[in-house]
């Protein structure tokens, strides 16, 4: 594809000028990292897909509000992070109101949780089950972290974004990002002591 060698910033500029192909290239580049970011924040694949769709919808509708003062990835991660946080707030309210009605599908939830996992055909069932149990535990421990630690851990350790960019995405000082990452990791280390 012709736009393969273009930077994200050049692509968004082309998209602002009306090139829909540039939009599709941006979708191609960011759909997987953004999906992973949102999924780890929310812990629910179908909700993560909804928020991912909302993120690209925002990109489509607000493309002219992007200014080249920040990297495009910073901008799109900020949008996705804000939408994910709104969804978390909504979930909290919903949980408060629902009193467990309609939320009892534990089996379904487990099924959803593992829907996106890639099965390893070579491993035997026992090993796969163990692996799943560990993975589930790790996911739970990440979700149990307070939001301020969770978001930096996901962005740094799973998305592997540089500290400077995380600082811009979350609009917090660089030192705060570093200290939150360290504190978040230390908490996880304490909680996952038996697995490490």
């Amino acid at each position: 594809m012709e736009s393969d060698h273009l930077s994200d910033e050049e692509l968004i500029r082309k998209f602002q000028e009306g090139d829909e192909g540039a939009f599709q290239e941006l979708v191609e580049r960011f759909r997987v990292p953004l999906y992973n970011f949102i999924l780890r924040m929310l812990g629910d694949p179908s909700l993560a897909e909804d928020v991912l769709q909302d993120t690209f919808f925002r990109l489509w509708t607000s493309r002219h509000s992007y200014r080249e003062i920040a990297r495009f990835s910073t901008w799109i991660y900020t949008i996705a992070g804000n939408l994910a946080k709104s969804e978390l707030r909504r979930q909290k309210v919903r949980r408060w109101f629902s009193l467990g009605i309609g939320g009892g599908g534990g089996g379904q939830r487990d099924e959803d949780q593992f829907r996106w996992e890639v099965a390893d055909e070579s491993a035997d069932i026992q090993q796969e089950l163990e692996q799943r149990t560990i993975r589930k535990r790790v996911e739970e421990e990440i979700r149990r972290l307070p939001l301020i630690f969770r978001e930096v851990i996901i962005l740094r350790d799973l998305q592997e974004l540089p500290y400077e960019e995380i600082s811009k995405i979350l609009r917090i000082p660089l030192g705060t990002v570093k200290s939150r990452v360290n504190r978040g990791r230390a908490r996880l280390k304490r909680r996952l002591k038996d697995l490490l």
């Binding site: 897909e49 769709q53 919808f57 990440i142 030192g175």
Partner: protein
């Protein structure tokens, strides 16, 4: 001088014996100058790579990919199931709560109406309240006062004062001294 992100990458490589002398020196210099990375190995390095190892990259489903790649005019029709999730829990409870509230309200209104009617059907004889105000024409009151003034002091009547009556004109009784 390397930054913290680079430090973390190099540190991992160093652990696996993949670094040259110059890079190891850079690592050491950074660790000496940076308070966050000084205890990196001790605190967090294994957590970071454990997470990465345990949580592989996830991919969105085919239907969402199809929706995203289609023309944006069509692609932003909701393909997820968030709407269903919303209606399944909280809205049902809210609706139930609202209906219950309305039913209770209607019952209260109904009983409020019923109570006075039942009293008229089964009247209970009670002594008239001394606080009950008797309607009197202002002219009558003036006339009564005039008559009372013309009486000899032994036959004069005095109005009760609170706490016997809240209204001085509601009831006239003989003066205690008049007997």
């Amino acid at each position: 001088m390397i930054d913290c992100s680079r430090f973390e990458e190099l540190f991992h490589q160093w652990r696996h014996g993949k670094l040259g002398e110059r890079e190891i020196e850079e690592l050491r210099q950074h660790q000496e100058s940076c308070p966050f990375c000084r205890r990196y190995d001790e605190l967090t390095d294994n957590v970071r790579f454990f997470l990465k190892e345990q949580l592989p990259v996830a991919y969105p489903s085919f239907r969402i990919n199809r929706a995203l790649y289609r023309s944006p005019l069509y692609s932003f029709e909701r393909v997820g199931n968030r709407a269903e999730t919303k209606s399944s829990g909280s809205w049902r409870v809210l609706g139930f709560g609202l209906a219950t509230g309305l039913a209770v309200g209607a019952l209260l209104v109904f009983f409020k109406r019923e109570v006075p009617e039942s009293r008229t059907l089964n009247p209970v004889p009670t002594a008239p309240s001394i606080t009950q105000k008797t309607p009197q024409e202002p002219a009558n009151i003036a006339l009564k006062e005039k008559e009372a003034d013309s009486l000899p002091s032994s036959q004069k009547t005095y109005p009760l004062v609170p706490p016997y009556s809240l209204d001085p004109h509601s009831q006239m009784v003989s003066s205690p001294s008049g007997k």
